[in-house]
């Protein structure tokens, strides 16, 4: 509770009349936490969930292959999305987790697919908890999103095209806001995401604890919420559109050490 009210105060202070006040105050907040993050509680929930039996098969997720072999969590986030031959698909972490829940645990994931992200002020979803836990276990690991399988290349090339896809009543594409360096929307800085510097900064820090929402948000959430702001219909969780954009971002970010869950506005 202390954290919540403290954050609310910070948010109010964020509106003092200085152009960069908002950026500064969140930077200060991040510095205050140092290596700690409120996301740690969500990470712990995720860690517990990873080794809790569930589903019709009553087994844990510990035999789930995230790309580095069954059960290997360390460094796994840094090499996703990637192609999985068992699913014959390029999958990001969140899509892969659902696949493991369904195939390994026999878990009914209909509700989770429908509501993959928690409502503000409610408990974090299993996907958010697991994402926080697994991403944290890649801290310091250089991003290495593969481009060897043809479907991985296809996903990247598709993401690159979709980045420029203008549609909807406002003609917005990702490029509308994220194709120039050093710009901002109102007071919020925008990263250039079709160039390595911005892609590195972005990809390495998702999932993130969103201070303004008091919750861990995943990169799939980021994509879906951008689609909402683009005035597009609902972006389907784990869809090709979402995964391709994440692949596009990840490949551009290759070489950058992971530093997630990050701490964001």
């Amino acid at each position: 509770m202390f954290t919540r009210s403290f954050l609310a105060t910070l948010l109010v202070l964020g509106h003092v009349p200085m152009v960069h006040a908002e950026e500064d105050i969140f930077a200060e907040y991040r510095a205050m936490f140092g290596d700690d993050s409120p996301a740690i509680l969500v990470e712990m929930d995720g860690e517990a969930l990873w080794s809790t039996p569930a589903g019709t098969k009553g087994v844990t997720l510990e035999s789930c292959d995230l790309g580095l072999g069954p059960g290997v969590v360390d460094g796994a986030y840094a090499q996703l999305p990637r192609y999985f031959s068992d699913a014959d698909k390029v999958m990001d972490l969140e899509t892969r987790l659902l696949w493991c829940m369904e195939t390994i645990q026999g878990l009914d994931t209909i509700d989770l697919r429908d509501k993959p992200f928690s409502e503000q002020g409610t408990q974090q979803t299993a996907l958010e908890q697991l994402s926080a836990f697994i991403a944290a276990r890649s801290k310091g690991v250089a991003i290495n999103v593969p481009q060897s399988h043809p479907k991985e290349i296809e996903s990247f090339e598709s993401g690159k095209r979709l980045f420029n896809f203008r549609a909807g009543p406002h003609d917005f594409s990702c490029a509308t806001c994220h194709s120039q360096e050093g710009k901002r929307i109102r007071l919020q800085s925008l990263l250039q995401l079709n160039a390595p510097a911005g892609a590195r900064e972005s990809f390495s820090t998702w999932p993130a604890y969103r201070i303004s929402q008091g919750a861990v948000r995943t990169i799939e959430w980021r994509m879906a919420d951008c689609a909402r702001q683009q005035r597009l219909p609902g972006l389907i969780f784990g869809s090709d559109f979402a995964v391709d954009l994440i692949t596009y971002l990840g490949v551009q970010a290759n070489g950058e050490p992971m530093n997630a869950p990050g701490l964001k506005r």
Partner: protein, 215 residues
């Protein structure tokens, strides 16, 4: 603006896009992979007021997606600017100005037409997302040009009023593949709302045209 079209209408446009894009790929092209993968058609569901029809690109969207970050060929620039300018609808009564106070609210309001927005509430113009306007408003974006003292600097001659109205209605009339939404052409703002925004830009009493306050 939400004319009901069938999703089938999307498919020809999409296949055109995909075909045209395949020519712009270089090096490790995906052309070798036989695939009927279609991320745009398979990745969305209708949500709130945002129907799947929104994924159907018009010609401007299709061309501008293809040439994002690149130089748009001169013949396409000519085509877009001409067709956009030709379709501009000027105020019926010849009066360009509404209420600057209402225009200020429109400039400050970022909601409207999102899947979670209430369709019964008037859309915002969100001018401040990209433009600096009133000098005393510090929460302005930088994607668009600063418009401080817009009317004061330009006056209110007929050509400048027509130019500004056209910019708001469909910016592609002057700047093919502009990133600015087509507020009139796409029905984001009503004629009255556009007049209110015009007043916000030009009225001598509007904060847009006040002096920059001393720091």
């Amino acid at each position: 603006m939400n004319a009901q079209r069938t999703i089938l209408f999307i498919l020809p446009a999409l296949s055109l896009l995909l075909v045209s894009c395949s020519f712009t790929n270089t090096g490790k092209s995906t052309d070798a992979i036989a695939t009927d993968r279609d991320p745009v058609a398979t990745s969305f569901r209708p949500l709130g007021q945002a129907s799947l029809e929104r994924l159907s690109q018009d010609e401007v969207q299709r061309i501008c997606s293809k040439y994002e970050g690149l130089e748009v060929p001169a013949e396409l620039v000519a085509k877009i600017t001409a067709s956009s300018a030709q379709a501009v609808v000027f105020p019926m009564d010849g009066n360009y100005f509404g209420d600057w106070k209402a225009g200020k609210v429109i400039a400050e309001t970022g909601t409207g037409l999102q899947s979670n927005d209430d369709p019964s509430v008037a859309n915002g113009g969100n001018c401040y997302a990209c433009h600096q306007l009133a000098p005393d408003e510090i929460a302005f974006g930088t994607l668009g040009l600063p418009l401080v003292n817009y009317g004061k600097l330009r006056g209110t001659s007929e050509p400048i009023l027509k130019y500004t109205w056209t910019r708001l209605w469909d910016s592609h009339s002057y700047n093919a593949c502009s990133h600015m939404p087509r507020f009139g052409a796409k029905g984001i703002l009503s004629e009255q709302q556009l007049k209110d925004v015009m007043a916000f830009l030009f009225d001598p009493q509007s904060p847009v045209n006040k002096e920059v306050a001393a720091p």
